[in-house]
Symmetry: C5
Subunit: 278 residues, 5 copies
């Protein structure tokens, strides 16, 4: 049997953009109330349209959040069919009347990713047992066929709707490549086993936390972005704290900044711009 | 006996937000004195209400501090029942007349946390000795029951009033996850023993320093935030210096920025805005 | 046979400047539409001239991209015959009417580089077998002669035209010089073998990704800059993820920021400045 | 004999604040000359009062320096009896007419510290030989008594006057807590020996360099701040370079930014504000 | 024979300040052409005077460069007899009419340094063979005498004129003090041997690259600053790349930012301010 590839198959779905803004309350509150209302309403209409997303095809939704702390006042997350479409969202927002009051201070660009550690090994073994060589046209055809089936069954996870939970926790992360501890130098079997243990913890929290993993290698400054959705934010801490003791996190995870925010449905956006969280 | 969990039980209480502001003295001092007085009074009234906190339920207080150095001129700390309520505080503050003179330059979001290293091991052992398996409904029920009793007795520490001391020292911190030195890879027993030694030092300073530990995994960029309250700031240095030699700090602690500030009760706030520390 | 040099021969071609700008939509949208049109047209004319590049000699082209995220709104890349000419481009742009709306937030200066690991070893061995000593005039003459031949055959790669692909991925990188893992302390033979494995992966993606490597030691803050061009951006992630498992990347690569952008041909630039991606 | 404490005794004196400002020459030079003179004179009067310090008790002086480079144009250092008094200095300065032209870009908060490595071991041994146990009331009483005597004899170093030298070099530093090299895990005897070697170098420079060490654990972002005063700045380089080879620096020191500045006595301050160094 | 010092003798010459500015083209281009000309001429006159330097004593010159990339638009380097004089240059520049269009974004303060690894060992050995003890008055007298002779013969390198080359490459650097790899813990003999190998590479480039090494321990944030002057910038890359494989760089060097710029003689400065590189 030939040496099997060490790289797990990944499936990609929606392109995703996170935008974090400071809101210029000082300039905004100097506007006459009717001007504020007009700008807020125009923004709200656009947001409502983005919230609904596509009536056919993938959901392609956006959502607004009220962010806590100095790292931003508002978060927008956008799921779209392409990076180009995400750029179009940015440009559309930049033409709105409310844009001068929004200061874009952070963002994150990624794509929904499902890492198929378990089925990769199975598929690689099957193909190898058929006598195929990695990298040959026959091998690639086998991969494409095996993957397409999986992708079909996972379509709703690859092109997700945005969970309606009250709180959002977002953070980017890397797998460590240290001088002695190096995720990318571990064997596929060891990585699979560690990811499995990691997933079991996540599963125990599945009732209260919805998770969307996005990949950003080649797209942004970290390797992955994690979005957690829950109605109660302390569960984020409990979940991530418990995971911090599993091997893949304890030894191999490096974390970026954490962003916590509260969902503001379009229906409540105008109220937010008057300074009140519904 | 089954393998016991390696993650200590934590109890969570008040949601906590630290806000650090630069104050725009130049613009402020250009205002007519009567305008300054009116804005300062309105702020002071709000602060006085926040200082009193809730008349029933948890204290839910805020406090104002005059910060030393370029990292900020004013610090506000807020204890509330939820992250949503902290966001409401931010939004309320943003609508005040004094807000244009406040530049939010830093913040920290966390939740009061009690890490029960000692009782976790006892409770895990008790449950295991009853023949329960970690993760089963019976085990979880046992945990919930055992923890509820403890949480009740610790309510005043989980939902604290803000100590009236003159000085505040705040800093965030992590436990190290290096390539060879990794807190999260140590056994529960070793971690408990190190935390015990650490706590004994803290106890010897208990007469002069009040400490509130908050957890921020999943909420902000460090794992914990530490607030120390004392009437004499050199004691902060003595306490933290002594702790730096205990094993859990010497080997496993990583520290963020340190913020030192002087309490400004609402009764003295108007005076501060005229440039004088009472 | 004398000890052979450990430094591979590199060939250098076009000088390259990346410029990343935030665009001040707020100020821009306050301009009368006719003023915007005039400024955009003047910029477009200059860009069209830069896109065409030189009618003789090297291509010396520039290209415009619409960047996604907060790290910039527009990217310009310029290929020229000298660093001086790149500085002239900067100065010419600074005199345009649209420049006040462009805020230069990042840049990268480098030179197209071909690292000749394979032929270096061959050439060094040939010269040594002729009895020449490294560093002697005869050796250097031999190097110059051997290299000139190669450079001639690689001219179109040293002075490339800008690929017409829809997406650009740019990132800078270093080879690690850690305390135990140190690229520059590995033997030439080991480095060559690792680069070879690396190149084989790139080759499998050659149909969908065009790559231009530039060197920036002594010119900018990282050792190399990588430009990837493709019509489908997920391929950037797939390529770089697969490479992350090859030894030279897994163990020795350190990455800077990643910048993703969408090509805006001069023909579509005016439309972009009206807020629409073609 | 009981195990002796591993933490050296430290004595603390004056609270110290460093402030680094950029000066807005552009706005300043737009003022009419008479306005500039009035503002500079008012500042100079305040500075002269601060330079004189207290007529009784501790010196409690401030001093002004003209800083070289982009990290600031002016440095102020303040020695006071308490952190509160330092905050009062900040507030007083913020109310002056010159403050709008000063942009506070950096600061450092610390307290004069004498680390008594030598006498700590002696005192601990004496107390232990008397049969006292560390941490008992008798032990603490013995420490207090032994320390008070020392503090008395060191009063002029704990509450220093500001040396009149022409140049100031300030930098903060830490002792390293790496994964294998960790100052806080070394024995007291080893640390004492290394500090002794370090001190001997300092002593050889004592004729030309005056040094004030301040501690900032719990107060600011590094563990110590170092102020060196000399009439000839190259001596700073010679002293610190030589020390870099002693073990405590070579192996255990981590340095922050370095700030070099030239003394501007109050008598010359008005001249500085007209753009000339006396 | 006594233990010889481990610290090489260094000789110091001119005090050196690098200043990097962004130029505010937007505000500048709003000025009437006659105002621009007047301001540029006044600046040019000052620059011409600085370029000529001192008519007697040390050269004490300054030079202007057009910088490439976002790290700055203009670089000024100044060689003077003292740090005070460098501060005077800063203050003089700040009073010019063009200063409001210059934003100082970076700087570097250092002093020309010749590290005498070879002659230090010889001199230390000679003195020891005479029976002198390091640190005694006799030893120091011998050092002073031996060094003075050397300094005299190196005066033109200690107080250099600014080379007239077209391109400048500047970067700061440190010697690594890692947990296992630590330059300052190596023996003098090993350091000397590594510096010797390093110097031999530099010598082979001496025809095309002029190098000025400045020391900045105690003066600025890195240990050394390196200025390379050449008419062809690719040679910077070739030289530094080759050096990166010698042991002292591969293992012990840590680099800061790299700044590349093109010389603008005073004769061409007015043209630059009209947006053209001569």
């Amino acid at each position: 049997m030939p040496e099997l590839p060490q790289v797990p198959i990944t499936l990609e779905g929606s392109s995703v953009l996170h935008q974090m803004f400071r809101f210029d309350w000082t300039a905004w509150n100097k506007l006459p109330a009717t001007d504020r209302a007009a700008l807020a309403n125009a923004f709200t209409e656009m947001l409502a349209r983005w919230e609904r997303g596509s009536s056919e095809g993938h959901p392609n939704q956006s959502a607004l959040f009220s962010q806590i702390g100095h790292k931003g006042d508002l978060t927008l997350i956008h799921f779209r069919d392409s990076m180009e479409d995400l750029n179009r969202v940015e440009l559309e927002l930049a033409q709105t009347g409310i844009y001068p009051y929004l200061q874009l201070v952070h963002s994150y660009l990624s794509v929904v990713e499902l890492g198929l550690y378990e089925s990769s090994e199975k598929l690689y073994t099957q193909l190898a047992e058929k006598g195929l060589e990695p990298g040959t046209p026959e091998w690639n055809a086998g991969l494409t066929e095996g993957t397409a089936r999986t992708a079909g069954s996972l379509a709703s996870r690859l092109y997700p709707t945005i969970p309606p939970a009250k709180y959002l926790c977002f953070y980017p992360m890397d797998r460590k490549r240290g001088e002695t501890v190096n995720w990318y130098a571990e064997t596929m079997a060891d990585r699979r086993a560690m990811m499995h243990e990691h997933m079991l913890i996540g599963r125990r929290y599945a009732d209260s936390v919805r998770q969307i993993i996005t990949g950003s290698i080649g797209l942004d400054d970290w390797e992955w972005g994690v979005d957690l959705f829950a109605d109660e934010p302390v569960i984020f801490k409990k979940l991530i704290y418990e995971m911090r003791f599993d091997k893949v996190s304890a030894v191999y995870a490096t974390f970026g900044q954490f962003f916590l925010s509260v969902r503001v449905p379009a229906a409540n956006a105008a109220q937010w711009f008057e300074g009140t969280l519904a």
